[in-house]
């Protein structure tokens, strides 16, 4: 399967701070990708680079095989929902659908109309007077109705209440089921990850900490608990991601290619949420260079 987003050494700097750096990813098609990280980690920067709103400072990025926003054809293949969903406050819902129809040759008006009806939005209502959840759904409708191959969403559910959040994800997943679109969804929330994402990218402090298929990540990480031990004594194939020690006991989260045979350890699997939290914790010193999981042909 080809990569929908491919970056190599991608970096973006504003004056003296790096918003993103050393970003090398190959995100495969047909996945729902979770882009996770704390606020300010660089998620919005990465998505803005992917959609052509920003230009890289160094490195390269290709989306669906082309430079982002390379031309109308490439723009038509990528849908984007910005953070704090950008809609025109004084334009009505129907006005936004017209905007979509006029600016997108591949516009599916029937899909848009059907979705708006299902969501119960009043076409004559101005977008500025919609609730947060309704605005997010409107923005998602606009992005879906242009029938893209790739959908990028920047923290679309961050400011929504749990019910609106579930409804948004439901609509998104239904679309994925129906049209097979690849999705990259950024969030600083780690719940909902396992039910929705099958590929994960963790961004912390402008760097990628880990990226790979969720199943591969879960298969390659283990919790080890046992008598107090210095992590340096572990075999080379086992990387310690997180460690905590009492005077008698050690609790480690390791990443390993092979099963752990040492009988001193009690080995248990890790939940995706705990795995992500471990990678997101800045107190954990993650080694800089790691091979990326999830082979992409």
């Amino acid at each position: 399967m080809s990569a929908v987003i491919q970056t190599s050494g991608l970096g973006k700097a504003y004056r003296r701070t790096w918003a993103l750096r050393d970003c090398t990813l190959a995100i495969p098609a047909g996945r729902v990708v979770g882009l996770v990280g704390p606020n300010g980690a660089g998620k919005t920067t990465l998505l803005s680079l992917a959609v052509g709103l920003l230009a890289p400072t160094c490195g390269t990025i290709t989306v669906l095989g082309e430079r982002p926003a390379a031309g109308p054809a490439q723009l038509a293949r990528v849908g984007f929902v910005a953070q704090d969903t950008s809609v025109y406050a004084r334009m009505t819902v129907a006005g936004h659908l017209r905007l979509g129809a006029w600016l997108n040759p591949g516009w599916d008006g029937e899909l848009a109309r059907r979705r708006i009806e299902q969501l119960g939005l009043d076409p004559r209502q101005r977008a500025g007077s919609l609730s947060g959840g309704q605005r997010a759904q409107l923005a998602l409708t606009l992005a879906l109705a242009k029938r893209p191959e790739l959908l990028l969403l920047d923290e679309p559910v961050a400011s929504l209440d749990p019910l609106a959040r579930r409804e948004f994800l439901r609509g998104l997943m239904e679309s994925v089921a129906e049209h097979g679109v690849s999705v990259v969804l950024s969030s600083h929330l780690v719940s909902d990850l396992e039910r929705v994402c099958d590929y994960l990218v963790v961004l912390v402090a402008s760097r990628v900490r880990v990226a790979g298929e969720v199943s591969a990540l879960l298969a390659s990480h283990r919790r080890l608990s046992g008598p107090r031990r210095d992590p340096a004594t572990l075999p080379a194939g086992q990387q310690v991601i997180e460690e905590s020690h009492t005077d008698k006991q050690s609790l480690l989260l390791v990443r390993t290619g092979e099963p752990v045979h040492d009988p001193a350890w009690t080995v248990t699997p890790v939940s995706l949420e705990d795995l992500v939290l471990a990678y997101m914790n800045p107190a954990n010193d993650i080694p800089a260079r790691r091979p990326q999981l999830g082979a992409v042909s």
Binding site: G30, R31, V32, R166, L169, R170, M173, E174, V176, A177, E178, S191, E194, R195, V196, C197, D198, L218, P269, S271
Partner: protein, 130 residues
């Protein structure tokens, strides 16, 4: 048609939960050979999960020979996992229910009953008796 549920706190992967629920339904007779499993779209509409998860679960069930995917038509149950028909299972269920009632009437508590059951279970299967 079976309706799936998701227990997010169980720590079990979503696709495994779906697989387990199908197996359970087959065992209990709620699903019979020939029944259609819900489409990915239907599952997604109800649970708001990744459709790939549904496909993964159905692929695993197909690998175990329990279901078969017919392109354009859906995924259908082929056989029951245990190899016995639901009628046999219902008979044993009724017998066990009767035994449990008698045990309770005799004054045995839940822990006693469980201990008796586990002892018998281990003894039976350790001998390699089918």
């Amino acid at each position: 048609m079976i309706e799936f549920q998701l227990d997010e706190t169980s720590g079990v992967a979503t696709y495994l939960q779906l697989v387990q629920q199908v197996r359970q339904a087959l065992r209990m007779g709620m699903l019979e050979p020939g029944d259609q499993l819900p489409t990915a779209q239907q599952v997604v509409a109800r649970l708001a999960i990744n459709p790939n998860t549904v496909h993964k679960a159905y692929r695993e069930l197909e690998r175990d020979g329990l279901v078969r995917a017919r392109p354009g038509l859906g995924t259908f149950v082929t056989r029951s996992p245990s190899g016995t028909d639901p009628a046999t299972q219902a008979r044993f269920l009724a017998e066990l229910t009767g035994w449990l009632r008698s045990a309770r009437a005799a004054g045995l508590g839940p822990d006693d009953i469980e201990a008796i059951y586990r002892t018998a279970f281990r003894a039976c299967f350790a001998e390699g008796v089918a």
